[in-house]
């Protein structure tokens, strides 16, 4: 097996294969990594409800198997739950993988002991929006939902009676439902920065729905996939060119969709920029949640954004926010967690992206895709 190889893989255990997303490869790899002690723990989403799951760090392969299946209405980034030094594996959307790499740059995570099993991602939804969308657009009772899937641009819900209800995602998003806004304009769908990139794009023919496309990106990726094969948990077959091409096509199509969403949400500000930022931030109640959930932040309690800021200051704008804007210019990965947790519904992700994108472009730097030092710490040896 070599870096760059592409396979279709699946769990040999029929239960995992059918319960897991498209063949259960990821679940089987994670469980095998625990069983064979390749890792001490695995981070998975423990399901608490149809639209609710909580990240847990577990050493129990049964808990890993129980977490099989994708949950599009659980928009969480897992990097916060990683502990330095623990040999751990995690299933990772591109934002999870990028956050983990950024945390490694900040010595919060040791990449040598962290196996990142990447998952293709077209976007997640906020559970509150999903519920409202089900009631209003699908005319379904959220309690009747037994499963969901995104396929060929359609969001498909399966009800307990076995019926499928599909609506095109762009139609839903026209109505203000569908994916989170930050997901709509995210252009990184295939996690090539992870050790493996897994998903169902490119799985065609007989294996459709029963196999996972996996691209091997690193030595650790080879290790964890080979471990699963050697332990009998997983079988693979080389992916054919047609599948590879389809995968690329889907990725390009999604990137085009992302570009038009980008134009919608990050259109140039009309009028005074200062008024826009001051007004948008005016309702802030200083809860600090945006900083706490930010997956690339690592300062903890002693941070520059909070150390010099106090509610007593009475400035025209919050020093906390302004410092965060600067600090995140090179590091914001656009995961949208800040917007999700803001108690006064400030669209923080859009604000951070407005500062970050031009700068990341200028430095030709994308946070979270490799171990390149963030440009803020650079030394520009220029000629005067």
């Amino acid at each position: 097996m070599e870096i760059g190889d592409c396979y279709i893989g699946w769990a040999t255990d029929e239960e995992i294969r059918s319960k897991g997303a498209s063949g259960g490869l990821v679940t089987a790899m994670l469980a095998a990594a625990l069983e064979k002690e390749l890792v001490e723990a695995v981070v998975v989403l423990k399901k608490l409800g149809e639209f609710e799951a909580i990240p847990i760090v577990t050493s129990d392969p049964e808990e890993v198997k129980a977490a099989a299946g994708s949950m599009h209405s659980v928009p969480i980034v897992l990097s916060r739950y990683l502990e330095y030094g623990t040999k751990v594996a995690l299933p990772a959307k591109p934002c999870d993988a990028r956050a983990t790499i950024e945390q490694a740059k900040r010595q919060q995570v040791n990449l040598d002991t962290t196996y990142i099993i990447g998952l293709n991602c077209g976007g997640t939804m906020h559970p509150a929006v999903t519920r409202k969308m089900l009631e209003t657009i699908y005319k379904l009772d959220p309690e009747e939902i037994a499963g969901e899937e995104i396929d060929k641009g359609k969001l498909i819900f399966e009800t307990k009676d076995g019926k499928e209800h599909a609506i095109k995602i762009d139609e839903l998003e026209e109505e203000g439902y569908g994916r989170r806004e930050s997901c709509q304009y995210c252009a990184i769908n295939i996690p090539r920065m992870a050790d493996l990139a897994c998903g169902n794009w490119g799985v065609i023919g007989d294996l459709a729905g029963k196999g996972t496309f996996v691209e091997v990106n690193t030595e650790k990726g080879i290790e964890i996939l080979q471990n699963a094969i050697d332990s009998g948990a997983v079988e693979i077959t080389p992916a054919d060119e047609k599948g590879k091409a389809i995968r690329e096509k889907v990725d390009s199509a999604m990137q085009k969709v992302a570009a038009s969403a980008h134009a919608k949400y990050l259109a140039p500000i009309e009028g005074s920029h200062l008024d826009y930022y001051m007004n948008t931030l005016s309702d802030c109640i200083n809860c600090g949640a945006c900083k706490t959930v930010c997956p690339v932040c690592a300062c903890g309690e002693a941070a520059k954004c909070t150390d010099f800021y106090s509610q007593a200051l009475g400035y025209k704008m919050s020093l906390f926010h302004l410092v965060r804007f600067v600090h995140l210019m090179d590091s914001c990965i656009g995961c949208g967690q800040c917007t999700d947790v803001c108690p006064v519904d400030i669209p923080l992700t859009h604000l951070y992206r407005r500062f970050a994108e031009p700068l990341q472009e200028e430095f030709d730097y994308t946070p979270g895709v490799d171990m390149r030092t963030p440009p803020f710490f650079g030394v520009d040896l220029i000629e005067d």
Partner: protein
């Protein structure tokens, strides 16, 4: 002292200890005329530039902020001013996107012997700030 009814901007100037602060001294010793608008804060190196300093200065009521260090290649700590040029890119881009006029933030290199140049930088920057007027971020009650 003459009663000056024209609005005088408040400018905060961070000067590196080795070159620029020396430049300020030279300006004084050489009796080069400068408007009394600048409040100098000495830092050891222009590489000490921190977003908190600049943002705090604006939020406290500064109309303009200058960061000054040694000429490129002459930094007392070898590469501090190179680091400053990078951070300055961040801060300039941020301040522009935020909506503060581009003229309000400046990075310059002034050596210890350049007394006249120091005074000129202060004069020119003051004129520039007078043109753009008081900072929109000034707190209520600060002139």
């Amino acid at each position: 002292m003459a009663e000056d009814t024209e609005w005088q901007p408040k400018i905060v100037m961070f000067c590196c200890n080795w070159c620029s602060y020396g430049g300020a001294d030279s300006a004084g010793m050489g009796r080069f005329q400068q408007p009394p608008t600048v409040r100098v804060i000495r830092v050891m190196c222009s590489g000490r530039m921190d977003p908190v300093f600049i943002l705090n200065a604006f939020l406290e009521g500064a109309d303009g902020v200058i960061f000054s260090g040694c000429h490129i290649g002459d930094c007392h700590y070898v590469s501090g001013n190179y680091k400053a040029t990078i951070k300055y890119k961040f801060l300039k881009a941020m301040v522009n996107e935020l909506g503060l006029e581009d003229e309000r933030l400046k990075l310059d290199w002034i050596s210890a012997s350049e007394g006249e140049r120091y005074a000129n930088v202060v004069k020119e920057f003051t004129e520039q700030i007078k043109k753009v007027g008081p900072s929109p971020l000034k707190p209520e009650g600060v002139v």
